[in-house]
Symmetry: C2
Subunit: 269 residues, 2 copies
């Protein structure tokens, strides 16, 4: 197969979700930040039907980390969040786990798919970043063109059945005078992680060094900025790593599902 | 067993949730409206583990009708919403369904309990009624000392796996000049049904006659009042009746679980 020519940065924002998914389906392998402006991107967790209740209950008990935007019926590969799409091919990079171990990072799931798999589509903080930018709050990892830094914390999630694990957070440095605004703005998006879980004092979360995130890339924290932490959908795959179920699939952090849902759908009130 | 002497009306409001549950456990059989002022009452659905994913997904897809406040682990009979309580005895009246048919209305579940049962605790609009009253909006069924009227509608819920059924709504007549306030006030309680789903025009919901509710009691609609409809937790048992799973248990409408959660926990922002 010929390599897919990546679209120019300016072009990425104007692609429709279906157009972007078509490129990823054809083999384009890029982080999805900056694609399809105005449309919600999502975390993914795919588990066998036998684990599906435990995971849905885990999400229900940890709604800030794992806000569920949609669930495909058992074995289904498409749905209203990805019309005419295919969950097995339309994400640029996946992670396959066996017994909690990462065993593959394929660009499609055609060899891994099973008819007993249930797909969970989970909100992503990219949605509220547009709202922060629109109110003049710079988002460091966007400005620095890297993936958002994510950290395992010393906070436990609320377990459910066989699933347990640490809370994972994403971090954005916010100017001290805009922290209250950032709280107010992101509070309006409860379906995509909502308000921060922690402001400042990373060591209280068990984060020893902000320069070494567990997932994603480090960002520079400018003078006068405070590190602000939001619950992160990668918490779902951290639970897989900690709880070691026989089989699970996730997206690769930063390589999200681009959905057909406009960001504004998730704004309240 | 001696009959339990019902507490006087004024006394009911001041009982702690644990005190009220103790009375119901001992056999008191009364609707729970007016008990334990300031604490959230809840709908109940209890299903075998095999049906638990379908129901949790049904609730996730129909959050206005079935907002989940808590889920007990498989076989568990207590939890943080009913500390030192017992879900098998602490509700004044239950309904047992086999194949979607009501087969018993016991005052406890000791003969019906199974170790594979999963208990779902679902928000109830009693919580926002206190808020309406506090802002001077009279609640007709409270003033008239009857159960809230509830109606099956012609609106379908979003199905999930084996579960489907009609949306059930509760109705409160609101003075025309306070309808906007009632919307605003109840919007603040998304975990207990939130804003109305329909204002006026009951025939558009397929309700032929407000004087003949499907559950609960009729209320008088005063001149100048508009019937306002909220999604109702009885939707869960209506799905059981429509979908006919082998076994399920619910509360009897109006005979709720009194939880330890203060109403204010469910107010946003």
């Amino acid at each position: 197969m010929d390599a897919i020519h990546p679209p120019a940065r300016a072009e990425r924002a104007t692609l429709s979700p279906a157009q972007a998914r078509t490129l990823f389906r054809a083999g384009l392998e890029l982080p999805t930040a900056g694609f399809s402006d105005g449309y919600a991107q999502a975390n993914l967790l795919i588990v066998p039907r036998q684990l599906a209740f435990d995971f849905l209950l885990f999400a229900q008990r940890n709604p800030k980390a794992c806000p569920i935007l949609g669930v495909l019926e058992t074995g289904e590969t498409t749905g209203e969040l990805l019309r005419d799409g295919d969950i097995r091919t339309d994400v640029p990079r996946y992670r396959v786990f066996e017994g909690g171990q990462l065993v593959a990072e394929p660009t499609d799931l055609l060899e891994h798919w099973r008819d007993d798999l249930v797909t969970f589509i989970i909100g992503c903080s990219f949605t509220f970043e547009s709202a922060l930018l629109a109110e003049g709050i710079e988002v460091a990892h966007v400005a620095q063109s890297v993936n958002v830094p994510m950290y395992r914390t010393n906070r436990s999630t609320t377990p459910a059945g066989s699933l347990h694990g640490p809370l994972v957070v994403s971090m954005r440095p916010i100017p001290a005078e805009r922290v209250a605004d950032a709280v107010r703005i992101t509070s309006r998006y409860p379906a995509v992680h909502g308000a921060p879980v922690h402001v400042g004092e990373p060591q209280r979360l068990g984060i020893a060094d902000l320069a070494h995130p567990d997932f994603g890339d480090p960002v520079h924290i400018p003078e006068g900025h405070v590190p602000v932490f939001w619950a992160c959908g990668v918490t779902a795959q951290a639970a897989v790593m900690a709880s070691r179920p026989p089989f699970a699939i996730a997206h690769a952090p930063g390589y999200m599902l681009i959905t057909d849902a406009p960001d504004r759908r998730y704004q309240v009130p």
